[in-house]
């Protein structure tokens, strides 16, 4: 397998009144052809900003301070606006969280879907419409040709997300970035959308980056997982290794916070105590240590690098932690012991 996308030392920050919000702090990862990579972490951990940085779709207050985003060797942070537009939609497709507002209410579905085809593939309006009808059927919307004349308000949330998926896949991109595409949908529709993306991936061989905070979705779709915290990658592992043998205390906490159907009912759900650090004032040591039951003195002086873990079942299993958590007894379950 060859490397499709190689992100190196990406740093993105937002200018605010008092200074900067450090949203992404030196994130590096690789995506291989046809691979599905899940990015998990709580709200505000930099997942979405990282992905928007890849194609430079950031709001005006944000700036990319450092790093490289190599797509098959070309640095997306260096190319000009014209080339960038060809990459967006042409090579990297994106779907977003809220399908209800992701479609232009003023143009019908057919026109909206054919625009990228006309623009990226140079199709005629007629060809583009015919292709759009096929795409609609492909994402499970029957009677595609008739529905092309309809407007977004005539589609339900799940259907709109299907349309978004069809649009982002229409120009056969090499990478599909899905930014929490199921968060705004109800559970039955969520499962359908996940199934749909899996099916399209298997059929087209597109590499997928799936951003989520839902670990159950991760288990179903991903090959590899990146766990983010406070703008850092804290753990990276193949999906099986992550679930069976998590090595970062934050990952352990996330797993522990999953509600379980086993055990007593009526008990309180487990949480990770404390709250994430202020991204305007990040410490230059481990950002998780105030919430970490395993923390040692070194956690308060030095920030750990993402390094291969000891006795890993897979070479790609890396974590950013000073402690080998398998050797430590935890006193309190998840609550910040040192805070």
């Amino acid at each position: 397998m060859s490397v499709l996308l190689d992100v190196q030392e990406l740093q993105t920050r937002f200018q605010v009144r008092k200074g900067y919000v450090y949203a992404v702090n030196g994130v590096s990862f690789k995506l291989e052809e046809g691979e599905t990579l899940a990015v998990v972490g709580e709200s505000g951990c930099g997942k979405s900003v990282t992905m928007l940085s890849l194609v430079r779709l950031l709001p005006p207050a944000a700036s990319i301070e450092n790093g490289k985003v190599l797509l098959r060797g070309d640095d997306l942070l260096q190319i000009d606006q014209r080339q960038l537009r060809d990459v967006r939609g042409g090579q990297i497709g994106m779907i977003f969280q809220d399908p209800m507002t992701s479609l232009n209410p003023f143009i019908n579905i057919g026109t909206q879907m054919s625009e990228p085809l006309i623009y990226h593939r140079g199709m005629s309006k007629k060809e583009a419409l015919a292709r759009s009808a096929e795409l609609l059927e492909m994402v499970g919307i029957p009677d595609g040709e008739a529905r092309l004349r309809e407007y977004p308000h005539q589609f339900s949330g799940g259907m709109r997300q299907r349309v978004m998926i069809a649009m982002s896949m229409s120009c056969e991109p090499a990478v599909l970035i899905a930014d929490e595409p199921t968060t705004a949908l109800d559970v039955t529709i969520q499962a359908q959308i996940v199934e749909l993306v899996k099916e399209l991936r298997d059929r087209s061989g597109v590499a997928v980056i799936w951003i989520t905070h839902d670990l159950s979705v991760v288990a179903g779709i991903a090959d590899r997982v990146i766990v983010m915290y406070a703008g850092y990658i804290v753990e990276e592992a193949p999906v099986d290794a992550l679930f069976e043998d998590p090595r970062h205390p934050y990952t352990v906490g996330l797993m522990g916070a999953l509600p379980s159907l086993e055990g007593e009912t009526g008990t309180r759900l487990t949480t990770i105590g404390g709250s994430p650090p202020d991204l305007e004032d990040l410490p230059d040591f481990c950002p998780f240590h105030t919430r970490c039951p395993y923390s040692i003195d070194r956690c308060r002086t030095e920030n750990p690098m993402l390094e291969p873990v000891a006795d890993a079942s897979d070479r790609g299993h890396r974590a950013a932690c000073w402690v080998d958590i398998r050797e430590v007894e935890v006193q309190s379950n998840g609550a910040g012991a040192s805070s």
């Binding site: 194609v55 779709l57 709001p59 005006p60 960038l84 537009r85 060809d86 990459v87 967006r88 939609g89 042409g90 497709g93 994106m94 977003f96 809220d98 209800m100 507002t101 992701s102 479609l103 232009n104 209410p105 003023f106 143009i107 019908n108 625009e115 990228p116 623009y119 990226h120 492909m138 994402v139 499970g140 919307i141 029957p142 008739a146 529905r147 004349r149 309809e150 407007y151 308000h153 005539q154 589609f155 339900s156 799940g158 259907m159 978004m164 649009m167 982002s168 039955t188 529709i189 359908q192 199934e195 749909l196 099916e199």
Partner: protein
């Protein structure tokens, strides 16, 4: 699970597939609004009169009948005559032309200025935005009538002098028609008063639409900026703008009448409803017909524009779109 199965099991909530579009929906909603429909009639009539009034009037608006000065309404003069023996009904029809041209031209000028200033502020942001907002604030802080009076008093004499010079230089009789000076001044004053409203509306619309998800999605699909503007931003900004223009037209007509009433608007001999009302007011106790005709017209048109604007607001308000 295959695609077919997904379709069969889910998406029970397929939206009702009425094959319409948003504009048609809006028209249907407008048609269902009785007040708005009632209001459309006088407005259509007004535009009709403005276009064809001179061919419909029984008398020329300047024709004086000294044998029938200040005559009460009769079969000969439907709404009577004024001090100089001119037919009031004819003058009202002519006045519609003044009202409509003032409404259209001043709204068009202020809309264009507002569009340019508002879009610049909305897109470019930063210093340009601050400058535009400061300009609108400053303009709006001045009372409209005072501003109009100042413009009229300071610009009228030099403009007339310039026209005279142009006439002497070119011998073109166009420059002899000083009524153009009045119209230009009225249009200018109204545009100056009204552009900040449009500029702010458009700025706000662009700021809000620019950050909508569908604009982000379009950018993520690699759409060029120009296309995003024309297909995503501008159409979505139209609704509130149409409402504002409808209300603004009525507002401009009322303001023009107010100017004329105070003597800084259109000057004699061009008929203007405001001027007619102000003349009629002097002798309303003895000759009420001079006041009633233009006042009723003014009231009907003002109310009609307000109702139509209201109806358009309901029909085009995105919060009421089904979703």
């Amino acid at each position: 699970m295959t695609t077919q199965e997904i379709t069969a099991t889910g998406d029970i909530e397929i939206a009702e597939a009425s094959r319409t579009n948003l504009w048609r929906d809006a028209v249907a909603r407008l048609a269902a609004n009785r007040l708005a429909v009632v209001a459309i009639l006088p407005i259509v009539l007004l535009f009709f009169i403005a276009a064809f009034g001179p061919y419909l009037t029984p008398y020329d608006f300047l024709a004086q009948d000294f044998t029938a000065r200040l005559a009460s309404p009769s079969s000969e003069h439907w709404l009577g005559t004024d001090e100089l023996g001119r037919d009031v009904f004819s003058r009202i029809l002519y006045g519609a032309r003044t009202a409509v041209s003032v409404g259209l031209v001043s709204t068009a000028i202020s809309l264009i200025v507002g569009l340019v200033m508002g879009s610049l502020a909305g897109y470019l942001g930063g210093r340009v935005d601050m400058l535009v907002v400061w300009l609108t604030d400053m303009t709006r802080s001045m009372p409209a009538l005072l501003l109009a009076i100042v413009i009229n008093l300071t610009l009228k004499v030099p403009l007339e002098a310039w026209m005279e010079q142009m006439y002497l230089a070119s011998k073109n009789t166009f420059f002899r028609q000083t009524m153009w000076v009045d119209l230009v001044l009225v249009f200018g004053a109204l545009a100056l008063i009204q552009w900040p409203g449009y500029a702010r509306l458009i700025r706000g619309q662009i700021l809000s639409i620019r950050s909508r998800n569908y604009v982000l999605a379009a950018r993520a699909l690699g759409m060029p900026t120009g296309r995003i503007l024309t297909r995503y931003v501008i159409p979505n900004a139209m609704g509130p703008l149409i409402v504002a223009v409808s209300a603004g037209m009525g507002g401009a007509m009322v303001l023009e009448s107010a100017f004329s009433f105070l003597g800084v608007g259109v000057q004699l001999p061009i008929p203007s409803w405001g001027k007619m009302i102000s003349d009629g007011l002097r002798m309303w106790q003895t000759h009420p017909h001079l006041l009633v005709g233009p006042a009723v017209m003014m009231a009907v048109i003002t109310v009609s524009f307000a109702w139509l604007g209201d109806g358009l607001n309901d029909a085009l308000n995105p919060r009421q779109w089904g979703g």
